[in-house]
């Protein structure tokens, strides 16, 4: 997806959070007026869906209207979801009428200042995903075989994690948690946590973040984006983590890049994979979590927090092939936590449970029919602490 908004920290950010929450991978986020260059960028990206927001209700309508006009020229037939200032919805819709892009309407992602409203738009995005993408990618045969809920995998995972965390009316869940899905191309992080400041004197800045938050790092992946991991942390870090010289790492990373299907074959490659995994998780966690900064004011220093404080979260669910088949998950996670900067509000200590049987998304689907059965199974697979080492 591509997300567009007005101010980077406000509606652009809200649009991105909403798209992530719907299970999408956001390739690029735009702010302010779209330019011809931006439209060219979008043409190159060829998104499956574009989310257009901007302005609180009754607020700025000029920019979203301008952007709707610009998007009319964008190539392709990707749908455009309008979820901005409600006073501008009609005009945007009529501007886009007659373009190659079908238009869907949703409630504003930020109807009032600093108030996120991502559920309605996430629902619309999921519906489009199922209707269009699944059809386009030939997955409609699956639809004809099963007559039930179809859901994009990330949003099924999100549902499963939310149920595991919150529980239902009868059975309590396990409480706040984070989850990491380390894949070949991306690294997804989920947090089901309030993330409020731990210290009451800390000032919270910026848009309040959703309790159920998902982010996708499109530059961090074990194969297609192994180079991205190397660029994010630097060769020395990978060298330190693996105990191997930098040129060995460069060589292997390059080999992975050229042949993403490659599995580690010897001790050296296993060590490099472990280092890549730690580095990807460390970076993705740091980007997902908030940061704490000390700022100097006329009345003395204060601490300010932006984003979620996850330092008190103690439970981690891991999924994705690279992790669940690894023999050293605990080591990978311990190294990832060890790489965090002191001001990062990432978890400090984690009990790890791995999705060894790849059931997370299936249980998310089951939750739609048989919530309590799904919950019991989730607790069975991920709720037992004694089975898991403490990192």
């Amino acid at each position: 997806m591509v997300a567009c908004g007005l101010v980077p920290t406000l509606t652009s950010n809200a649009a991105k959070l909403a798209a992530f929450g719907a299970g999408a991978k956001v390739i690029k986020t735009f702010a302010y007026q779209l330019t011809l260059g931006d439209i060219e960028d979008i043409n190159k990206i060829k998104p499956d869906i574009l989310l257009l927001s901007g302005g609180i209700d009754g607020g700025n309508s000029e920019v979203i209207i301008h952007n709707a006009g610009m998007l009319k020229q964008a190539k392709g037939d990707f749908p455009i979801v309008l979820a901005g200032n409600r006073s501008a919805q009609d005009e945007c819709a009529s501007l886009l009428k007659g373009s190659s892009h079908p238009v869907y309407l949703a409630d504003n992602v930020m109807p009032e200042m600093n108030k996120l409203n991502i559920e309605p738009v996430a629902k619309v995005i999921r519906e489009i995903f199922l209707k269009r993408i699944i059809l386009a990618k030939g997955l409609n045969k699956a639809t004809s075989m099963v007559d039930g809920i179809l859901m994009p995998t990330p949003s099924a995972v999100l549902d499963a994690l939310t149920l595991l965390s919150k529980g239902d009316k009868k059975t309590p869940g396990v409480g706040e948690l984070v989850a990491v899905d380390l894949g070949g191309a991306t690294t997804d992080v989920y947090s089901i946590a309030k993330g409020h400041p731990t210290n009451p004197t800390t000032v919270l800045r910026g848009l309040p973040e959703p309790f159920v938050k998902r982010t996708v790092e499109g530059d961090l992946g074990m194969r297609y984006n192994a180079i991205g991991i190397k660029e994010a942390v630097g060769e020395e870090v990978l060298s330190q983590l693996s105990g191997l010289p930098a040129d060995a790492i460069s060589e292997t990373v390059q080999a992975y890049h050229e042949n993403p299907a490659k599995l580690p074959e010897d001790e050296q490659e296993i060590a490099i994979d472990r280092a890549l995994a730690s580095a990807a998780i460390a970076t993705a966690l740091a980007r997902h979590a908030g940061i704490l900064e000390q700022v100097y004011t006329p009345v003395g220093p204060i601490y300010q927090q932006t984003g979620k404080d996850l330092t008190q979260v103690e439970r981690l669910v891991v999924t994705g092939g690279a992790l669940i088949y690894s023999k050293s998950i605990d080591q990978i996670i311990a190294d990832a936590l060890g790489l965090q900067e002191p001001f990062a509000l990432t978890p400090k200590q984690l009990h790890v449970s791995a999705d060894k049987n790849y059931v997370l998304s299936a249980l998310g689907l089951l939750a739609g029919y048989e919530q309590s059965t799904a919950l019991n199974l989730l607790l069975e697979f991920f709720g037992r602490e004694e089975a898991n080492a403490v990192v």
Partner: protein, 136 residues
């Protein structure tokens, strides 16, 4: 059309009571108030004004460091495309007791359209808003 005001207490200032009173008074007077509360940075005022297409930004400062906190505010508004937006400031905007005329002059030089001395009741502010926003 209903006018939109962005309201907040600037800088590291935590005096919250006056802000709540102003929020109440402006809302009662028929304005759409986007209240950012206390400890608001210049950037946060500006970003909120952009998203809400605000007609005016009402800055409070009570702890004495208003002059420092307000420096460069107008220039940043201009830069952000909020050219000519109405800017008011009030509260205890400077340290201690200083002749108000001088204080007013300094804040006007910084680009504030109106400057209000300590203890100005909200009604005064509201009357000024009606006057200044009448033709906008």
């Amino acid at each position: 059309m209903r006018k939109t005001l962005v309201l907040g207490v600037i800088g590291a200032d935590v005096h919250a009571v006056g802000n709540q009173i102003l929020n109440y008074a402006f809302t009662e007077a028929g304005f759409h108030v986007v209240n950012l509360g206390v400890m608001v940075s210049q950037e946060e005022f500006i970003e909120a004004a952009i998203e809400s297409a605000a007609d005016a930004i009402i800055v409070s400062s009570l702890y004495g460091h208003g002059e420092l906190d307000c420096q460069g505010f107008r220039e940043k508004c201009d830069e952000a495309g909020l050219k000519g937006i109405l800017l008011y400031v009030g509260g205890n905007i400077v340290v201690g007791k200083q002749p108000f005329e001088e204080v007013e002059k300094r804040f006007k030089a910084m680009g504030f359209d109106r400057v209000f001395g300590p203890g100005t009741p909200p009604e005064v502010d509201i009357a000024c808003l009606h006057e200044d926003l009448a033709d906008k």
